[in-house]
């Protein structure tokens, strides 16, 4: 899974030569053999490395503050979205929904690596949501729909249909 994400990311970044990855441990943590040093281990570490290689530093944030925010959500991705229990799902969606209420992207007004990796990570959760739940987490759904249509991002994942209009309006009666 992580390997397909990395290869999608490579395509998005326009890296010409695809890298070769291996995995380690039960959790299949990705490993990148590095010609000029020891191997890099971990999804976030490798993804940041690819972004630097592609000379797209703005994807990691354009200020110290936004870089911190991006790193925070990348960590969220590998700690919260890679292993969760059923009860966690609600909390994750609820918190993200509250967070995204006044934001276009994960780090505010600019598309970053955090959007890409959170999108890949949250895809399995969103696929399972009923329409009503998608409406309940309307900010997450809006953001998700935006990112899946962001040029060059989706690649290996199937699109998720998101209704644009609420079926039930509150002024129904």
């Amino acid at each position: 899974m992580a390997l397909r994400e990395l290869s999608s990311l490579e395509k998005y970044l326009g890296l010409k030569k695809p890298n070769k990855y291996s995995t380690q441990g039960d959790k299949k943590i990705p490993v990148l053999q590095n010609n000029n040093g020891p191997p890099l281990v971990g999804l976030v570490t490798i993804a940041c490395h690819l972004v630097k290689e592609a000379k797209r530093p703005e994807l990691l944030g354009d200020s110290a503050e936004s870089r911190a925010v991006v790193q925070q959500w990348l960590e969220f991705r590998v700690t919260r979205l890679d292993s969760y229990s059923k009860e966690d799902i609600k909390t994750i969606l609820k918190d993200l929904n509250a967070y995204l209420q006044d934001k276009v992207y994960m780090a505010g007004n600019q598309f970053t690596l955090a959007d890409t990796l959170i999108y890949y990570g949250i895809h399995p959760l969103i696929v399972d949501l009923a329409i009503q739940e998608k409406e309940q987490y309307v900010n997450v759904t809006r953001w998700f729909n935006h990112i899946q249509h962001y040029p060059g991002i989706r690649h290996h994942l199937p699109p998720v249909v998101v209704l644009r209009n609420r079926i039930y309006t509150s002024r129904h009666h």
Partner: protein, 909 residues
């Protein structure tokens, strides 16, 4: 830029150390663990950093990285990698380790949890030749990893973590300063309150920690592999002799030096209600199973309970039945006693709260609280009946909960959210439509100022004892809301008088008074009651109850005892069940839904089967439901086909093939393997029972008989008995092992089904000493019936429950299920015509009529609402409202509730 941290929170070490190391200017504010700093997170998350742009950081690693970046040091790829590893691999293991060390006192076992990640760190350290993880200078990776490991390495040099590196970072002044700030030199103690507020870490591979939510038989367990050592050990145990027979219980039971002394209470049932199955499983039955088990384990145990008899409800009931309150109590105390007797609840003493001792002890506690200045005088609003100038029992008022809007909240407590309510706070109070009510102020006394003592004690008790998760959670939420003074007096007659001259006319409020009943009931049992109740050094106290009673046992009552300052024994283990529903609705006496204690025996189903099924669906960890169909199924599949079948076959083989004498057993490897399997199940049973997981433990009994049935099926002794010598010998071994397993089962069943258990031993003619042998230590499955032992007469233990029988019972007790036709022929009633009708029922509950009236009230209510919505004429609405009120009065009568002092009362009598 502002940093929010809390004391004793290990994650705050990282950020404070980063601040110190980098020297970044940043204001640190100390807040409580529960403070919600990050607005979009539903759980409190600390540390948190408020960035200059108004955004929040809630990840401690991101905060540290930011500090370093602001100070001019950007994090390298290698740093990134360490931080990612710390978050994904090291942290989960550390959290579990901290949980074990700080809360469970299992510090010695943490190495197996953190050894994996530590090895990785040590290996990596051995490959680098720089002083720090990523180079010649301290980096964010060093600070984060040091801070993560520090709390767990605090009191031990037990782990090798590349001493040089750790000591180097640890020796930095910045790190020591941060450690001092967070842990205050108090070590693990300081982290306790933080850790208690965290969800327990998920433990993934631990076999004995299976989730307890699935019902016993459905939790499918794959074939277990048994090691050779286990097999040998089981065979050795098998040949051990029986222990000497235990001495008979001698009353009065008193604590003994050198024994585990257990005082066990179950919540005191209120006297004027007939208990329903939910009450029985939640309190007395669960406590009974545990006390029987405890005696088998050889603990010195006293089990007391009794009826709670004071209060307005009793006064009302007395007026209704034309008796004195004392007569009512006598009458219903006998009803309770006989029900519990039928259910074989083996109390050491079943007392009552209306005794001299109660007055004496309650008044003593009161005076102590008073002298220690824990009582405050204040007034409280109370609902009062205008006609008869009496205050109304809180429980008597029903309305909408002001906190969670639950429509059926009672005047003392909401059954949904569990919060305590003052009756006057209820919205849409129903009783007001029946009785004219005014609100009066009345003087009261409140205990206060005990919070810190209580919190200290709770920390100790909840971490050291077996509190069910719901009990901990309810208590925690109470503390979080803050303790408010609660009124301990009421203006009634039927109660323990308040001894203070300024409050002469008052009695103690039932929630101050009732738990003191545990003490006074014990005092009525023995003069030496203080050896139990003022002896926390020697005595462990278990309280059993349903979850709605938790706050009174974990907060209210302990406050009284702590404030009295007389070395009282406080609860060590608080065992609370969730709710038992009836066929997917709530038990309700007034609606005639459900089976009540006194009706169970009329069903013709034996008490033991009732006990078995109630314990099988015990609401342990989540609500569960009683279902007739399910009861029949469990009886037929588990008791009849599994357990009963195995025990009966084993006994019958001895009778038929071996003239009633246990044959010689020559154990083969396969037999020993079975002994090991059975021994393992026995061990699980004991582990679970020790933790009061009554329902989960039952599963392992049924597993054993399943193993047994399979063993018989594979070995076919009924065929082998007809073969040659070796085959006959094999049949003998299989039969002998099986009948010994039956004997073990009888012991394990004793807490659950005492009669069946004794019947099995009678049929097998088993020595009585087997019951105090098998449950010793971690489980001791010995050969109790050796070769040559003569068994008694074997006969079937259980009967099939037929579908039509069950269908009939379901109809009989189902309230709603009853058809209108049946009801009409049974009793001429004037409803559902929504008109006033003379009510002619005799005293007591008329469930059928109540049901129809409920329907009529609902219809009339709809009609009124419709008229109001259509803006109909006022006179029309008034007339219809009058009809509605009248119907409601009739309903109250039919439900056996006292609608008094409404005028209807005279008609009714």
């Amino acid at each position: 830029m502002k940093l929010f941290v809390s004391e004793g929170n290990p994650h705050c070490l990282k950020v404070l150390a980063a601040v110190e190391v980098t020297g970044v200017h940043c204001e640190a504010q100390y807040v409580s663990h529960e403070e919600k700093v990050v607005p979009f997170l539903s759980r409190p998350a600390l540390p948190a950093l408020l960035l200059p742009n108004g955004q929040h950081l809630f990840s401690s690693n991101a905060i540290c990285r930011y500090m370093f970046e602001v100070s001019g040091v950007e994090s390298t790829e290698l740093c990134n990698q360490w931080l990612e590893w710390e978050a994904t691999d090291l942290q989960p293991a550390l959290l579990q380790a901290l949980h074990m060390t700080v809360l469970q006192g299992k510090g010695s076992e943490v190495s197996k949890v953190i050894q994996g990640p530590l090895n990785y760190l040590v290996q990596s350290l051995s490959k680098i030749n720089t002083p720090y993880l990523t180079g010649e200078a301290v980096s964010v990776a060093d600070v984060v990893l040091w801070a993560a490991l520090y709390p767990i390495l605090l009191d031990s040099g037990r782990f090798d973590v590349g001493d040089l590196w750790f000591d180097r970072v640890n020796g930095m002044h910045a790190c020591q300063t941060a450690a001092q700030k967070v842990l205050q030199g108090k070590g693990h103690e300081c982290m306790k309150s933080y850790m208690q507020r965290q969800p327990a870490p998920q433990i993934s591979q631990c076999r004995d920690m299976q989730p307890s939510n699935s019902t016993p038989a459905e939790a499918d367990e794959g074939e277990r592999l048994v090691s050779e050592e286990e097999i040998e050990a089981a065979a050795l145990t098998w040949n051990k002799g029986l222990s000497p027979q235990a001495t008979e219980r001698k009353h009065p039971i008193l604590p003994q030096e050198g024994k585990r002394n257990i005082l066990l209470t179950s919540a005191l049932p209120y006297v004027n209600n007939v208990p329903h199955l939910g009450n029985i499983i939640g309190c007395v039955l669960s406590a009974d199973v545990f006390s029987r088990y405890g005696r088998l384990r050889g603990w010195n145990l006293l089990f007391v309970c009794g009826t709670d008899e004071y209060g307005t409800a009793t006064e009302n009931k007395a007026r209704e039945e034309g008796l004195t309150p004392q007569q009512i109590c006598d009458k219903y105390h006998a009803v309770h006693s006989s029900i519990y007797k039928w259910f074989q609840i083996d109390f050491d003493f079943f007392g009552r709260t209306t005794t001299e001792k109660q007055t004496e002890i309650a008044q003593d506690i009161f005076w102590r609280l008073h002298k220690n200045d824990f009582l405050v005088e204040d007034t409280v609003e109370q609902l009062c009946c205008e006609n008869c100038k009496r205050f109304l029992a809180d429980r008597f008022v029903e309305g909408i909960c002001p906190h969670c809007s639950y429509p059926e909240a009672r005047g003392d407590q909401c059954d949904k959210c569990g919060r305590l309510i003052n009756a006057v706070e209820l919205k849409a109070r129903q009783v007001m439509e029946l009785i004219p009510v005014v609100i009066l102020l009345h003087n009261s006394l409140f205990p206060f100022g005990l919070e810190s003592q209580l919190e200290q004690w709770l920390d100790k008790s909840t971490s050291g004892g077996d509190w069910t998760p719901n009990a901990k959670q309810i208590t925690r939420s109470w503390l979080r809301d803050g303790l408010k003074p609660r009124c301990i007096t009421r203006d009634l007659h039927w109660g323990t008088p308040v001894p203070h001259p300024d409050f002469k006319e008052k009695v103690f409020y039932v929630w101050f008074d009732a738990p003191i009943g545990y003490l006074s009931i014990t005092a009525n049992y023995t003069d030496k009651w203080e050896k139990w109740w003022k002896n926390p050094q020697q005595v462990e106290l278990y309280n059993f109850m349903a979850k709605d009673n938790v706050p009174f046992h974990s907060v209210v009552f302990p406050c009284s005892l702590l404030g009295a300052q007389d070395n009282y024994t406080l609860v060590n283990h608080l065992v609370a069940t969730e709710y038992l529903n009836y066929e997917d609705t709530k038990f309700s006496k007034s609606r005639g839904v459900g089976v009540f204690g006194d009706m169970a025996k009329d069903t013709g189903i034996p008490s033991d089967v009732w006990r078995f099924y109630l314990l099988y669906v015990r609401p342990e960890g989540q609500d569960s439901a009683f279902s007739w169909a399910d009861m029949a199924m469990k009886n037929n599949s588990e008791l009849l086909n599994n357990l009963g079948n195995f025990i009966n076959r084993a006994g019958m083989f001895v009778m038929k093939f071996f003239e009633g004498c246990v044959p010689v057993m020559d154990l083969q490897h396969e037999d020993k393997r079975l002994l090991a399997l059975v021994g393992w199940e026995l061990q699980q049973y004991i582990q679970l029972m020790d933790k009061v997981k009554i329902r989960d433990a039952l599963k392992h009994i049924l597993n054993i008989s399943r193993h047994g049935n399979q063993y018989i099926q594979v070995n076919e002794p009924w065929k082998k008995i007809k073969g040659g010598d070796t085959e006959r010998q094999r049949a003998g071994t299989v039969t002998g092992v099986s009948v010994n397993i039956a004997c073990l089962l009888s012991v394990m069943l004793l807490p659950y089904m005492p009669t069946v258990s004794q019947t099995i031993r009678d049929q097998l003619n088993a020595p009585q000493s087997c019951i105090n042998t098998m449950l010793q230590g971690t489980g001791t499955f010995v050969c109790a019936l050796s070769a040559g032992h003569r068994v008694g007469t074997v006969s079937p233990l259980f009967q099939k429950l037929e579908a039509d029988q069950i269908e009939a019972l379901k109809k009989k007790f189902g309230g709603q299920q009853k058809t209108a036709q049946n009801a009409a022929s049974a009793q001429p009633v004037t409803v559902p015509v929504p008109a006033a009708a003379e009510v002619t029922t005799v005293n007591g509950v008329d469930s059928e009529k109540a049901k129809q009236l409920t329907q009529a009230v609902a219809e009339q209510g709809d009609k009124v609402r419709a008229l109001k919505a259509q803006k109909a004429e006022k006179a029309v609405i008034t007339a219809e409202v009058a009809k509605l009120l009248d119907l409601k009065k009739q309903l109250a009568v039919a439900e056996g509730k006292s609608p008094e002092p409404a005028p209807q009362k005279s008609k009714k009598k």
